[in-house]
């Protein structure tokens, strides 16, 4: 009935084969078990020795899953680093809440979920005496209020960055200095703002001169964001969306992360980053160990490795975000340091994202939904 002759049969067969091959080739967005650490190193010496698996939840392509960078740690301690990827901090919090104890060894929370995670007893205390590189961290980071509770440290800062303006210096000749560039009619239709309620509210607050962590006039912020909306080409949510827009010459200027801008520079794109005079959003990513992890000591060693000068320097040179280890910036190109804001002076201009209660978050989210729905 269906395959009535050989020609049809061969045709369908070829089609199926073509589809199978193309399906094997790429992957879509989403989770992947052990993307970075899938090649097992040549440890034929240890032979039958059981390899410990360290389970990490992190963003995709974010340092800890880079085989080149963490390969030496894996070999040194005979450990396999296995990754699960998160798409948002809230998702990580959910994971911590529902995961069985002992199934995850390391996670990367930031200030927005740390207090909740610590309060709910999801994280175990970090023994900083096990971290030889802890003292090399910039002082302001060691006293972030979200990382500490009752004098106990629950999270170790790892990398930090800012969310400010990235633009195309070939298309925009005069250097950008103010955050109001995102509201400039000159760039109408070539701006890409971020579709994220936190970034949106905080950026608008900075533009209005309010404290981004405690905005005083949310109605003014709503109107400011509505003002900005028609000037955009579109909103972007995940980093690769912005990359596609920028590389495809669809936008010239946008709200962007320092880390990804550095990576895009590395890949050869002509892009410039600037922390506006009015200030910008700052964020810190921290490592934490979930309660019940069976590899606590190994996790501590991995954290120590990740905050070491060697790792942080290697990663920054590969295009990673700003290191917390103060010994690194001495070995970097001063122009690069200046532009990306990798020095104390720039850290001063940043408003680091602090914790907000669920009610506050809901309120902010609703304002942003209102802007988008208009």
């Amino acid at each position: 009935m269906f395959l009535t002759n050989r020609k049809q049969a061969i045709f369908v067969l070829l089609l199926l084969v073509a589809l199978l091959v193309s399906a094997c080739g790429g992957g879509g967005a989403g989770r992947s078990g052990d993307d970075g650490a899938s090649e097992s190193p040549d440890t034929t010496k240890s032979g039958k020795q059981e390899k410990v698996t360290l389970r990490v939840i992190n963003w995709k392509d974010y340092g800890s899953d880079d085989t080149e960078l963490v390969g030496q740690f894996e070999e040194l301690y005979n450990v396999k680093i296995e990754h699960q990827y998160m798409a948002s901090e809230e998702e990580l919090l959910t994971q911590l809440r529902i995961a069985k104890e002992g199934t995850i060894d390391l996670v990367l929370p930031n200030a927005s979920i740390l207090p909740a995670a610590i309060e709910e007893g999801l994280l175990q205390e970090i023994d900083v005496t096990q971290l030889s590189n802890y003292d090399s961290i910039y002082a302001p980071f060691k006293s972030l209020k979200e990382n500490v509770k009752d004098g106990k440290v629950y999270a170790v800062p790892w990398v930090w960055g800012s969310t400010a303006i990235a633009y195309n210096p070939d298309k925009i000749q005069e250097p950008i200095r103010s955050i109001h560039a995102l509201w400039d009619e000159k760039y109408k239709g070539r701006i890409a703002f971020r579709d994220d309620f936190n970034d949106a509210i905080m950026t608008a607050a900075i533009a209005l001169g309010q404290d981004p962590n405690a905005p005083s006039d949310l109605d003014a912020i709503l109107n400011k964001l509505l003002e900005q909306k028609p000037l955009n080409r579109t909103y972007w949510k995940t980093g690769d969306e912005f990359s596609k827009l920028y590389a495809g010459d669809m936008v010239d200027i946008g709200l962007m992360w320092s880390g990804q801008t550095a990576t895009m520079k590395q890949e050869g794109l002509s892009i410039r980053y600037v922390i506006p005079d009015e200030g910008a959003i700052g964020w810190v990513d921290n490592w934490a160990i979930p309660k019940g992890s069976k590899n606590s000591e190994l996790a501590h060693k991995f954290i120590d490795f990740l905050i070491s000068k060697e790792f942080q320097e290697a990663w920054v040179n590969k295009g990673g975000p700003a290191p917390v280890n103060k010994n690194v910036s001495t070995s970097l190109d001063p122009a690069f340091v200046e532009e990306m804001g990798l020095n104390e002076a720039a850290i001063e201009k940043l408003y680091f994202i602090s914790y907000h209660t669920p009610d506050e978050k809901e309120q902010w989210n609703e304002i942003w939904q209102k802007v988008k729905a208009q």
Partner: protein
């Protein structure tokens, strides 16, 4: 009852445990206040109706889904008709052509549309070569039109299949009888064929309209700043701020609207029988 009805039990079990029960759980949570100590509350539903933009957004999404359904019907019906009544030999090949897109992920197809519709993309270049548009940008990407195009592309195969199936069932002898009573082809179509394939059309419309109402990937990738739909609000509530209860409430409201529409459709189809 025939004992063989128990053959249905695996399917029924799956449907009950993985569709019905989760839905009921969702409904339960939509009536609970946020946080650990949940109490019964109508606050989430009140919130939805108090903030006027949620209703406006839902209405916008309904309009989008209606547009997609209507365009899909306009494209799918002629194709199904040709496949069922006119072509004899290439039928299966055409069916295969309709089914092939299902083997590609929806996300990949959305990104492909982004590539096709962008400035300097294939569509713009082709239209410019054919002198159908001038030098300016095509202006399709990052507008609701791009979303409609992509959604039609994704959903019209469902319509083709359901209409084709019901058209195929039309008894040829009825057509002959109508011809013998000296009815012209158009009258035959209008009074015999169309009423008989109404169930197929209605089923196709449901298969397109309902998923469109909940779509959130394509509007985000292709819709630009004006492309927000209610599905994106629900997505943000679940992934961005852990407002699951409110998200559940909006979802349940959407579900109720769909059930009302389905009830109306089923009344329509029963009247025709």
């Amino acid at each position: 009852m025939n004992r063989r009805i128990w053959l249905m039990s695996p399917a029924v079990f799956l449907l009950l445990s993985f569709c019905v029960v989760p839905l009921l759980i969702m409904v339960y949570y939509s009536f609970m206040s946020d946080g650990a100590g949940g109490r019964f509350t109508l606050q989430h539903y009140a919130n939805f109706f108090q903030k006027d933009f949620y209703l406006r957004l839902t209405w916008k999404t309904i309009r989008l889904s209606l547009a997609v359904t209507a365009i899909s019907l306009l494209i799918a019906f002629p194709m199904a008709y040709v496949m069922a009544r006119i072509i004899q030999k290439g039928r299966n090949l055409l069916l295969l052509a309709i089914l092939i897109p299902f083997w590609t992920s929806q996300l990949v197809r959305a990104y492909s549309w982004q590539n096709l519709l962008r400035d300097g993309g294939l569509l713009e270049l082709a239209l410019r070569k054919l002198h159908l548009i001038g030098e300016g940008s095509l202006g399709l990407l990052f507008t609701p039109y791009a979303v409609v195009i992509a959604l039609v592309h994704i959903f019209f195969p469902y319509m083709v299949i359901t209409i084709y199936m019901s058209l195929e069932k039309v008894d040829l002898s009825l057509i002959e009888a109508s011809k013998s009573l000296r009815a012209g082809p158009f009258t035959t179509f209008r009074r015999i064929v169309l009423p008989l394939c109404k169930p197929g059309i209605l089923a196709g419309c449901i298969l397109v309209f309902v998923p469109c109402l909940g779509v959130f990937v394509e509007p985000r990738i292709l819709g630009g700043t004006d492309g927000t739909v209610i599905g994106m609000v629900i997505e943000d509530l679940f992934f961005e701020i852990y407002g699951w209860n409110f998200g559940a409430a909006i979802s349940f409201l959407l579900l109720s609207m769909i059930l009302v529409v389905l009830a109306a459709f089923s009344r329509l189809s029963r009247e025709e029988a």
